[in-house]
């Protein structure tokens, strides 16, 4: 019978410490299974968030040996078990208890982004003509499961705590999905530049590396957004042309 030992963060905003737990391993087990086993057998009140155990809901984010991961998609067999595995909560958000953090900031940020505003429907039944090639890019962004791993790893939030000035990679992806939606008529460029801090991203690509959905956050979403914002700010002619024709390029 093989076992693994974990150092799990236990505590809340007032303080806490790593506590050691040892549990049995079985074939195919993921970190979330091990946490559940610890919960059922040794620590009933160990706080964990999870829903689907299938990598689809983005609830079970935590730092496994310092790496931001979905616990339900991290297999035990991919981790070294000769020394204790550290499990701790995301660092970019305030701690509630154990592995659970307060992610409400993300909901507030999202609500401030101007919502989808479609053009008039193309057909009488209220539908539109859109081709697959027009929506491929947007569909990539819409794969996001809001696990906030990218938010956790981005140094602007994690180390510099600029939560007031910067919406973070997740919401740059969200803005990109809206901005590049073929039907959308809203213009979010000023917000992106003035209050949402697109300029604060210095393209380290750390966010892209941790995204469990494989979204190319930096290259496909952030860089094109930066370009749009810059065009808009420094090129009055483009702005004028965009105003009289359709706004998006």
């Amino acid at each position: 019978m093989t076992t693994a030992t974990f150092n799990i963060w236990r505590g809340d905003a007032a303080g806490g410490e790593f506590t050691e737990y040892t549990t049995e391993l079985s074939e195919g087990m993921v970190v979330l299974d091990a946490m559940h086993q610890v919960q059922a057998e040794q620590a009933q009140d160990l706080a964990i968030r999870w829903n689907c155990k299938a990598g689809k809901c983005g609830s079970c984010s935590a730092e496994v040996n310092g790496m931001p991961k979905l616990m339900c998609m991290t297999r035990m067999s991919d981790l070294p078990t000769d020394e204790p595995i550290t499990i701790q909560p995301l660092k970019a958000f305030p701690l509630i208890k154990d592995l659970v953090t307060d992610v409400s900031w993300n909901y507030k940020v999202k609500k401030k982004i101007a919502p989808f505003k479609p053009r008039q429907p193309d057909f009488e039944d209220g539908s539109w003509e859109m081709h697959q090639s027009d929506v491929d890019r947007v569909q990539e962004f819409r794969k996001c499961i809001e696990c906030y791993l990218c938010q956790d790893v981005c140094h602007v939030l994690r180390d510099h705590h600029m939560h007031e000035e910067f919406i973070g990679p997740r919401f740059l992806v969200y803005s990109a999905a809206l901005e590049m939606h073929p039907l959308d008529t809203e213009d979010r460029r000023e917000d992106l530049r003035e209050t949402q801090g697109v300029g604060l991203c210095n393209i380290t690509k750390c966010c892209t590396k941790v995204c469990p959905e494989g979204i190319t956050i930096t290259d496909n979403a952030i860089i094109p957004l930066k370009e749009r914002v810059v065009d808009d700010a420094y090129d009055p002619l483009t702005k004028l042309v965009q105003l009289v024709t359709k706004k998006k390029g």
Binding site: G28, D45, R49, N51, C57, F116, P121, H131, R142
Partner: protein
């Protein structure tokens, strides 16, 4: 003793899955003040897991499709136990609901003409499921969430409702606790909508998220609402079987929709061996014809792999039982074989089934573009739930509405794939609309302080017991219940084991009274599990009781002691359950409403 916060809303919605969110949007649009409560964070509800698509006769891929065909398919799939009026409304209104999602920003896969693409699914005569790869639920939930949060509703995230309040025969509100802090909340409301989803967590092997503990079923039942069709639990034929930690995880029917073949250990496409008479005319004779159907040949009939879920699940059980299963007790599902038929099969599979590709790669180390998957049945969906009025979704309790998986009637004895997501939209909207007008008309009434006190005590009990020597671990009890249902109320049932199950559930209910949890009220999953137990036990009892009552085999309900489908009594009755005066579960058998002639004719025409 005001150690709780109090909130007032015209409409209180319990559950923020597809049904709850759609209801919230509608009720807000009608001018009602809406409170939307969910046990998990917004955007994480079980709906997010839905993969294959939502069924609506948009006729974008095959113009022969229409609401009439969809209606007839739904009724046939449900073995005619469905509420015909719900099936009619659903088929008629689904297309508009899907187009509405697009207007709110959803981005479906497209046809060559630039319309919403539709895919094949079991039991649907034509390609009918609007989808986005195999992450349709995410697209739907996110669209509703992102639209909904701008409609002025108040959301209470990670707040669990444990009890409904009543005044006479009318519902007046609900009691809940915040998971984060353990803080109590009282909601006073003109109308309450239950949109809490399913009961999958009552079983050991399930595709459902942890939320599927049947809370709404049990809250409704306790408040006097009638539950119906609780014997009909859908076991999805294709769940993962290996490795053990992912047993039950869903493998979307979309795999078979794209041509995936079910094979036994002898390499045989066993689904072609046994085609039920009800589907003979619609099903391909050979795998060759089935493949032609998948590739869009309009003369070809559906592959046998796309027969209804109840039948496919039973066929798999048969193969395994007769010794032709796969190494880990399932059968093989092979999509890689299509490389014999099309160039770039590998790419095609990854594009059409990206989530499945990753799921098997990451969790089982299997490359589905090269090797077959191993699959077996998993508890997936409950057709049964709160009996509702087909137009308004109001239950048998005044002011209490239900929608989505927690409601019942649309699916009869077996749900067709894709008919749930559309159900959430169609009936979520209706529930929101009618609940808002009910609240508007009747106003808000007071909650009895005694009831509040009782609800509080009930919630605190497991914590108070923590130092007693007789105390039991809530997780352990939950596991025992799951094992029990899996074994005795599963795919194949019979009288003696169902009777045993009923007794054992009683026993567990007794034990549940001494469940204790350690720790305090702050984000304490042990406490949450202890409070969910009551609901799990109620639905477990309801399933066992209904299954024992229905002495025939129909749709998802199979009795080896009554292997045949009846044409007499049971073909015309639904089984209802309600809480009797003495607190016992009472069985009510109700004749199903006669299908009007014009709809009979439609069913006849669809052969």
């Amino acid at each position: 003793m005001d150690n709780y916060s109090k909130h007032e809303h015209d409409v209180l919605i319990i559950g923020a899955g597809g049904a709850g969110l759609r209801a919230a949007i509608e009720a807000s649009a009608a001018g009602a003040s809406v409170g939307l409560v969910s046990k998990s964070l917004l955007g994480k509800a079980h709906t997010v897991m839905a993969e294959g698509g939502m069924a609506a006769a948009l006729s974008n891929v095959d113009e022969r499709d229409s609401w009439k065909v969809h209606f007839a398919d739904t009724m046939r799939g449900g073995q005619y136990l469905n509420n015909w009026r719900m099936a009619e409304i659903h088929a008629q209104e689904a297309p508009e609901r899907v187009r509405e999602l697009e207007a709110w920003g959803a981005v479906f896969d497209r046809t060559k003409e630039g319309k919403i693409l539709q895919r094949n699914f079991g039991g649907h005569a034509y390609p009918r499921l609007a989808h986005v790869g195999d992450r349709t639920g995410l697209e739907m939930l996110r669209t509703l969430q992102d639209h909904g949060v701008h409609q002025g509703l108040d959301d209470y995230q990670e707040c669990t409702i444990t009890r409904l309040f009543k005044d006479g025969d009318r519902v007046t509100g609900a009691f809940g606790y915040d998971r984060e802090s353990g803080h109590f909340r009282i909601f006073q409301a003109g109308a309450v909508i239950i949109a809490t989803g399913g009961i999958g967590r009552a079983f050991k092997v399930t595709s459902n998220s942890w939320e599927g503990t049947g809370d709404g079923h049990s809250l409704g039942y306790e408040a006097g609402a009638e539950l119906i069709d609780m014997e009909f639990i859908q076991f999805h034929p294709t769940g993962m079987v290996w490795p053990p930690s992912v047993r039950g995880l869903l493998v979307t029917e979309g795999v078979r929709g794209e041509g995936g073949a079910l094979k036994n250990s002898e390499g045989q496409r066993f689904m072609y061996d046994d085609i039920p008479p009800l589907y003979e005319n619609q099903t391909a004779d050979t795998p060759e014809e089935g493949w032609r159907y998948v590739t869009g040949d309009r003369e070809a009939r559906r592959p046998a792999e796309l027969l209804t879920r109840d039948h496919v699940a039973r066929s798999i059980v048969r193969e395994v039982k007769e010794g032709r299963g796969s190494p880990h007790g399932g059968v093989f599902l092979d999509i890689a074989w299509i490389k014999e038929k099309i160039p770039n099969a590998e790419e095609h599979i990854k594009r059409k089934l990206p989530a499945m590709y990753h799921q098997f790669m990451e969790l089982a180390g299997i490359d589905i573009t090269k090797e077959p998957m191993e699959v077996g049945p998993t508890t997936h969906y409950v057709m049964g739930g709160i009996r509702v009025d087909p137009e308004s979704q109001m239950s048998t309790v005044q002011g209490l509405f239900a929608a989505g998986e927690a409601g019942a009637g649309l699916h009869g004895a077996n749900r067709l794939g894709g008919n749930s997501l559309s159900d959430l939209l169609v009936f979520g909207k209706r529930a929101g609309e009618y609940a808002a007008s009910f609240a508007n008309e009747k106003g808000i009434s007071d909650i009895d302080p005694e009831e509040i006190h009782r609800a509080e005590q009930e919630a605190l009990d497991p914590l108070k017991r923590q130092n007693q020597s007789t105390s039991l671990n809530p997780y352990q009890l939950q596991f025992e219940l799951q094992d029990l249902l899996q074994e005795k109320v599963g795919i194949i049932r019979k009288e003696d084991t169902l009777e045993e199950a009923t007794k054992e559930i009683e026993g567990l209910a007794e034990k549940a009274k001494s469940v204790a949890v350690t720790g305090n009220r702050k984000f304490n999953p042990g406490w949450h599990t202890a409070l969910d137990l009551k609901h799990l036990l109620t639905v477990a009892k309801a399933c066992a009781c209904s299954a024992l009552t229905r002495e025939e085999s129909r749709g998802a309900h199979s009795r080896i002691d009554f292997p045949d489908k009846e044409t007499g009594y049971w073909a015309k009755h639904t089984i209802g359950l309600r809480k009797g005066k003495d607190g016992d579960m009472e069985v009510v058998k109700t004749p199903i409403p006669e299908i009007p002639e014009k709809l009979q004719k439609i069913i006849g025409e669809q052969g």
